[in-house]
Each structure stands twice: as C-alpha cells, then as structure tokens.
Symmetry: C3
Subunit: 289 residues, 3 copies
C-alpha cells in the first residue's frame, strides 16, 4: 500500500485501503479462533458474526491447538484466564506460530493483577501480529507503569503513545491503544488514528474485547498490512458504535444496535474515521466520502 | 399418534399433535439440565425460559449427576468441552440412563476437531433419545465424511439424509439435521420436515445450540413420540425466527425479537411448519391453519 | 440513619436514604469482584455497568484473592461452581475478610443440589455482609426445609420470613428474600420491604443473579447501613424492571430495556418502592415523590 503519510492523494488512498479491508473481511469470512474470557464469549462471537467473520471458541487445550492451526487468525484474551485456558493459550500460540497463522494479544487488566501481567509479558515475546488494549494495559505491558482498575483505564491514549511505540519496536507487533481516539502504531513508528465510537461502549461489557476479536478477523482478512488491518477493525467498530449510539436509549439498546450496525456499516463509513498521524480529525473524517 | 404419512386427515392430525406438544411444554414447564458450551449458556437458558421451560446448567460433575436424575431431560452439547465438563457429561448420561430421563446430543463442530469427534462417537452409543446437528456434523458423527468449518456446515440437509437415517437406525435416536428445511428422521425411517426460520439464525451465536436445548425440553414435554417432539422443537424455533426476522434490523435486534417470539408463538403457528415426507412445503404450510 | 419504623417523618427519611445510596453508587462507581456463574456473567457485568458500578470477574484463584482485596465489594454466587471456582471463592473470602471488604453470598439452587448446599452452609459462617436468595434458597440455607426446583422457588417470600430472621441472627448478615415483594431482614429483626418489579424478571436468566451483584455494589457504595444498602439495590432493580416491562414485547426486549432503565432510574424512583415493615405498599409508594 501507499504510505498513509505520503503526498497528495495519500488520504484518499488510505480510505480506499480501509474500505477494501472491510470488503475483504466479508468476502473471505475468516474463521477466528478465540481463546477469550467467559464474560465476553457471547458478544465476541456475535460481533464476529455480525461484522462478517466466523467465530470458534475452544476450551480444551488439544482442541485449541488443532483449531489455531486451521483458523484464519487467533485471539488470546486473558480476562478470565485459569490453568486450563493458560495451557490452551500456550498450545494455540505454538500451533499458530508453526502454521503461520496470525494471532492477537488482548492484555485485559494487565497491570492490575499479577498472574496475568507475568503471563502477558511472556506471551508478547512470542510473536503476536498485534496487541490491543487500553492505555493503562498497554503501558503496563510495556513496563511503563500503567495499572488501571479492573478494565478501566487510568490514562489517556496519548499518555500511552511512547510506551506503545516502544512495545511495537520491541515485540514486532502492531500495538493499538483503544480510547476516545484510538492510536495504532507499527514497529518503526508508522501510526494511524481512528475517530468515532461512543462513550456508551464503555458501559457495555465486552465491547473492547469484541474489538480485539475483530482485530484478529481483520488480520486474517487483510494480512499484507497489519497496521492497516488493525486500524480498519477499530474503524469498523467505531462506525457501528456511532450509528448505534444515535438511536440508543441506554447501554442495553446500544449493545443490540451495535450488532445490527456491525452488519450494516459499509467500508466507506469505516474509512472516514481513519487518519494518518497529525491529520486533524475533521480532515480525516471528510476524506473517505 | 396416527402415522403422519397416513391417509386423509393425517396432515391435520400431525398439526394437532405439534400444537399439543407446544401446549404440553408450557403446561409442564420441564426442567432441562444443560451441559452446554460457555458461548451459548445465556441464550440457551433464555430460549428455554422464553419458550416455556426451565433451565439448569451445572458444571460440577457431582451436581451434573444429581441434577440429570431429577430433570425432565438433559442436553449434552460439546461446543467448549474440557476435562471437567467431559466428566460431568459422563456422569450425567449415566444418571439420566439410570433414572429413565431422556437426553439429547448436540455434536457441535464434530468432524472438525478430533477430541470431540471421538467423544461424540462414544456418547451416541449410550442411548440418546435424539441427536441434533447441522448436515456436516451429522455426517461426521455417522462416519460418512462431513467436517464443516467451526460451526458452519459444508453440506446441505438433503446430502445428510442417508447418513441421518443410518445413524438413527444404528443408535436408536431420532436424528435431526437442522438447515434451511430441517429434516428429522426416526429409527426405521419415519421422517418429518420443518420449514420456516430465517437466515439471520446463522448470524447469531447459539441459535442452533439453543434449538438443541429446546429439543431436550420437548423430549421431556412430549415423551411418547420422540420424532414428533423433535420436529415440534424445530417448528417452535422456526416460527419464532420467521416472526422475529420480519421486524429485525440486523442480527442484534433479531436475537432479541426471537426471544420475544419464542414466548408469543402459538402451537398452531409452529404446527403449520411441519410436514410429512414428500409433502410439498406449500401444502404443509397451509395444513395447520 | 433514623429508624425506618420511627415517628412522623420516618418514611420520608427512609426514602431520602435510599435515594442517597443510589447517588453514592453512581458517584463512587465501586469495583465489584464477582465470582459468579457462567450463565449470568455477561448480564451481571452489564447490570453493574448500567447501574453505575464497575465489574471484574476473575476465575484464577490467585487473581480472585488479589482482586477481592482491592475491590469495593465481592459477590459469591454458586450457580455453576466447580473445583477451580470453589478454591477461588475460599481465597477471595479470606482476602476480603483480611482487607475489610464486604462480601455477599447468593446461594443459587441451594437446597436442590447437595454439593453447593454444603458449601453455602460453610460460607455463610464466614461473615458475609449480606445473603440474597429466593424463598426456597433462604429456607434451605437456614436449614428450614426449602428446596425449590433449579432456580425456581417453591415458596412465597412470607413463608421464608422466620428462616430469614433466624439466618440473619445466626450469621450476622442482612438476609434478602427476593420475590414479588422483596423482604430484607437485618440481624436483630429490623426489616424493609421492596415493591415493584415485574414478573418478566423470572423469564430472563440472570435477573436474580445480577441483583445479587448489585447488592454487592450497594454494600460498597453505602457501607454504613447494610440493611438500607441491600434494600436500595432491590429497589433500583425493581424500579428499572417496572419501567422496562411497560415497554417490553416479551422477555428478550424486557432484558434489553431493563439495562437501559438501570442507567436511567433516579434515586427517587427507587426510593418510592421501599417501605418499612407493616407500612402498606400504597403509602410507601407515595412517600418518596
């Protein structure tokens, strides 16, 4: 792809690439093997189905290993990890690595709880294609302080920018910091920003975790540029959230409408939300129309 | 009951039997002990409650054994099986068998993953009253190829007809192949077909798994004819899905409306969707009005 | 607080205390560590978020122990207990006790299943701030018969009044018996009654379990009077349920609207539903306006 920070025409090229990634997701319907937490399994599977992907959620370590080798991508989310899932994660990551299947790490509440913090710091050395978390989680994973409260972040996205860039360089993974304006950083420092979304997303359990599942789906559907894929996943989710919030009466109806809108959002709707570094949000917002 | 493929009046008799099964479900409110997967526990419990039954979902093997002996029916769904649940399943099946409680096997993703394929092939020899799956799952369980992708079927319902009949004869279970037009086959070859439903059912996680739970509920409520009970469960689900799809904006609102409609559907609405073998869909559809 | 059964002005004082508890919940946004069952994790987390609290649901025993010491309150719900969760519960209860964090026991289906009945009878001796169940569960926990069917109660609230008072005196916990009119009893015999709600709450899985999570949230937000806190939680839930039922088409849309209304209900709406013992429902209903 053309560099999104390039000369004239670059913003339009970026929008076209995002739109194309969304179309590729729906055309390829990738199977996403999710090792995720029990609170969010249902909304994660429903979000994948609504957006155009296919979910599978094994628990048995032998099945996780087998499925990770067959899937288009793997998600590892540590939200309710126990010993059985930890073994499943280790075997799935090894299997994905051997088969060349991309995998994504979502370090839920890392920095708050010691067991998963140690586990996540080990996993991030094993070659994930992407890491997605909130600012506190990314900072904690990078060893730069952090530590939110449960799944709440204690930091803004920009506070985590240096830690995200450092983590990307050290791990080789694209690092996404989800927040009001999402920041996505590739190893070497290339960055994209994603606007849109809704504050109601913080009032629905699993909204961020389902976004992690969609990051994996996009990594399968658009494998040639992980930065673009991760940004497109955020844009798809944010475009759907914005549309859903417009009609919602509260967090219950928002979650329902969000699933509807994940199905309805077009690639151009998502593309409008993605901007290159330093592009003002307004300019990026108008670019893809 | 009169044979559904019999002479004049048989179609009407069939419709009356289906409607009566739905009324029996609501009158008896059977307790259904579900050993099912963690992705679908919530929608399965909600579907049972909405349709008129009562759910219970134990995980501890000792509790599964005790509850299986007290319940009206037991569901075994292997979607996220692990060692603890496998032990719970074995003990529940033994307990149900000893107490004469009917149990249903839902072989989720059998044919894709080796561990559960071996387990399902063992379980089907232990006397389930019914097996419910998609075409690929039924074919894989019967040893006739199969093998979908995750929970997606790679085959149409009619492709699985011979495997379903063979599996029914060998296992003694009624075998249901869920799809666009559901096929239900009893040992010996008696068959029923169920129309209706909505493609949106494939966009909501747990739709098929919740149908498996309702098959168990109907097996408890209408124990004298398992073929009729399994077909009535499919018809109840499909009638609700058809009504829900008419008002839905996408998969999120469809899932909500489907629960509403499971509560609202009348026995006659369900009965209209069930036809005997070879009856044209149109004729079957008009018969129960 | 003033005694709710006191002289003139007492009813108004009670209403003000309930309204203040709801405001305190939203202002403090307590972190509630839930060790709960896999059927209801999602709706429990969503109910906490909608009402104004923050959920965390660990499974690993080491993480449960750590989080219980950091949280505002802990919920222990035995609905799908297994050996891993049982260890997590024991460690979380010890940790909460050491840190002075209040914890709540929800004895789901105690009296029906032997394993959890023995476990709950042990846990209730370890100092919960509150116990919340239906009539059969409270009676079984108190050793006074009981024994419903799954999560269904076989008894009315008033039948459990003596058992609840006895259990409160022996355990030192506030005991809530949820039903058509909820009864909340403190050690020593002080009681509050909560009206409102909807029969649709019995048609949605996890409605009662989510109420248990909100009892814990209120115990964190209003720690100085556990009786008041537990009653306020019931009132918040019932006010939201009443508003939701008015617009719902069935159990699916009711559950969605209930989450919306948990967010919208004002403290005064909740306060209207709480009455002191022997106060006629009508009088209590009018008092807080």
């Amino acid at each position: 792809m053309s560099a999104p920070t390039g000369g004239p025409g670059a913003v339009t090229d970026l929008a076209e690439e995002v739109a194309r990634a969304t179309e590729a997701l729906r055309a390829s319907r990738p199977l996403v093997c999710c090792l995720t937490n029990e609170v969010v399994v249902q909304i994660s599977a429903n979000a994948l189905l609504a957006a155009g992907a296919a979910p599978a959620m094994p628990r048995h370590p032998a099945e996780a290993a087998q499925l990770a080798g067959l899937a288009g991508a793997v998600l590892v989310n540590l939200g309710t990890v126990d010993d059985v899932q930890e073994e499943a994660v280790r075997r799935a990551v090894a299997s994905a690595g051997a088969a060349g299947v991309p995998w994504v790490l979502d370090p839920v509440a890392v920095g708050v709880l010691d067991h998963r913090t140690a586990l996540a710091r080990e996993l991030v050395t094993l070659g994930p294609v992407a890491v997605r978390g909130n600012a506190s989680e990314v900072m904690a994973l990078a060893g730069a302080g952090g530590g939110g409260r449960g799944t709440d972040t204690a930091h803004g996205v920009e506070e985590a920018a240096a830690a995200a860039a450092d983590l990307a360089d050290r791990s080789g993974a694209v690092v996404a910091v989800s927040g009001v304006r999402d920041l996505v950083v590739a190893p070497g420092g290339r960055r994209l920003l994603v606007d849109g979304g809704s504050e109601l997303g913080t009032r629905v359990t699993g909204f961020g975790c389902a976004l992690g599942a969609l990051v994996a789906a996009y990594a399968a559907a658009a494998p040639t540029d992980a930065l673009l894929a991760v940004a497109a996943a955020h844009a798809h989710v944010s475009a759907a959230a914005g549309a859903a919030a417009a009609a919602a009466r509260g967090p219950g109806s928002f979650a329902v409408a969000w699933l509807d809108e994940l199905d309805r959002v077009g690639g151009a709707d998502a593309a409008r939300l993605v901007g290159a570094e330093h592009a003002p949000a307004g300019a990026a917002t108008g670019a893809g129309a």
